[in-house]
Symmetry: C2
């Protein structure tokens, strides 16, 4: 199993590359190809749009690469997502793509284009407290589709996104088809009033209203400027109720080492 | 000219009510009716959704009220905007509505429903440095349509929104018709990478792509976590270019005392 690492958003930290490299070497069933673009830098990004897109398209087209693992989130994959999914080489559809957070823009675009994508841990997560388990989970799933790596209550088609990323791609050219799929969401560093505003936007979308219901992953909420009066679960329940969408309970995903894997191609 | 103050988002500060009250009393051409709901509090909001909606609907239906002035922004008007604009009493269409920031959700919903709305200073702005001028400008325009209060380069139909509010209402039931209108935007307290993400979303909208072009108001940007590499004008130019929308230069609006007035009904 050959797994290519590219960074469509922000640059990978060298110690994270070393960490996942050591993990991969110790297990012996995966070979990691760390594209040098992972360490490029241009303003906010891991290289210019052209540099990031070229590295991504290079590994997507490489028939010797079995999986593409997005190095980390941050911000920027939306800037190249439509171009990444355009005129796909045949080899691009034969491999698996794994990432989350800002990488959700690419998950949406590549899923829409017929690629096998999954929401789950990224190489930079190895630096989290307990992050070795996140990296091992990702590799267990990429190398041998270990069912223990999957989000525990998956049954039938699902999509998973960071809530801000989901809100930001609605109505754009990379919006996926939500019809009949369970929609899992998680959030990081947004106050409750912002989660409420995001849920207003997301559940106000006619496209999202065709989904089979919403499950709420973990939200890491900073101190609210003003007390909001409700927690994130009450907020999501409220907007599900207002929009006629079933609220389906919690999901085992989030910006943490416990983040489980949600393939978008289950039941397809 | 009787002007009713209600707070569809967060509560008005007492000293702001006193400030605009003194301004109004000194000029003699306006009577301010400060609805007690302006000082209500429920979690993040100036009263529950029901309380805020009832106060708003009450002044909208009052035939003795000539204008409704949203007390301040914050967050929350989106939660009552669709209901506020539903089954309008005849009196609601005969008056003018003024506000901005979070009030943009109401501007969108009421404009869509055929009311005369404008983007401009709110009572709480009187507390800003130089804020007396903002309050005087708002009252000059409400009382006698003073052309000096208007954004200086308005010619033909225009819409104006806080960029985050605009992004959050796209695709929802309160999305306005952008076709042929110049779209003015401004932003507060969002890092450049977030402005970039918002512009990706906004210019990716087929509805927004029917507008006549974008003008950029003032953006108050906090310190970026990572240097972004471009300022807000370069960001807006970039996304206008990518989406085929004309970039029409700067606009004299923003979260400050100089914020000029943009009626949505010019040229209608």
């Amino acid at each position: 199993m050959r797994i290519a690492l590219v960074a469509p958003s922000c640059p990978l930290k060298a110690e994270a590359a070393q960490g996942v490299g050591a993990t991969a070497a110790a297990r012996g069933d995966v070979e990691l190809l760390v594209h040098p673009q992972c360490f490029a830098s241009d303003g906010h990004f891991a290289g210019s749009d052209a540099v990031r897109l070229a590295a991504l398209r290079e590994v997507m087209a490489d028939p010797t690469v079995d999986a593409v693992w997005f190095a980390r989130g941050g911000y920027g994959s939306n800037r190249i997502a439509e171009a990444a999914a355009r005129d796909l080489p045949a080899a691009a559809r034969l491999k698996t793509y794994l990432g989350y957070s800002d990488g959700g823009f690419l998950l949406a675009a590549l899923h829409r284009a017929g690629c096998k994508v999954a929401h789950g841990p990224m190489p930079q997560d190895v630096l989290r407290n307990g992050g070795a388990a996140a990296a091992a989970r990702a590799l267990d799933w990429l190398a041998r589709r270990d069912p223990a790596a999957l989000e525990g209550r998956l049954a039938g088609p699902a999509l998973a996104f960071n809530l801000t990323v989901l809100s930001s791609l609605l109505g754009t050219g990379i919006e996926p088809d939500f019809a009949g799929r369970k929609l899992l969401i998680e959030e990081l560093d947004e106050q409750h009033y912002r989660i409420d505003r995001l849920m207003f936007h997301v559940t106000g979308s006619p496209a999202v209203r065709r989904c089979a219901g919403i499950r709420l992953g973990r939200c890491y909420v900073p101190e609210n400027d003003r007390p909001f009066g409700h927690d994130e679960e009450a907020i999501v329940r409220d907007w599900c109720g207002r929009s006629g969408l079933p609220y389906l309970g919690r999901a085992d995903i989030g910006h943490d080492a416990a983040n489980k894997i949600v393939p978008f191609f289950l039941g397809d």
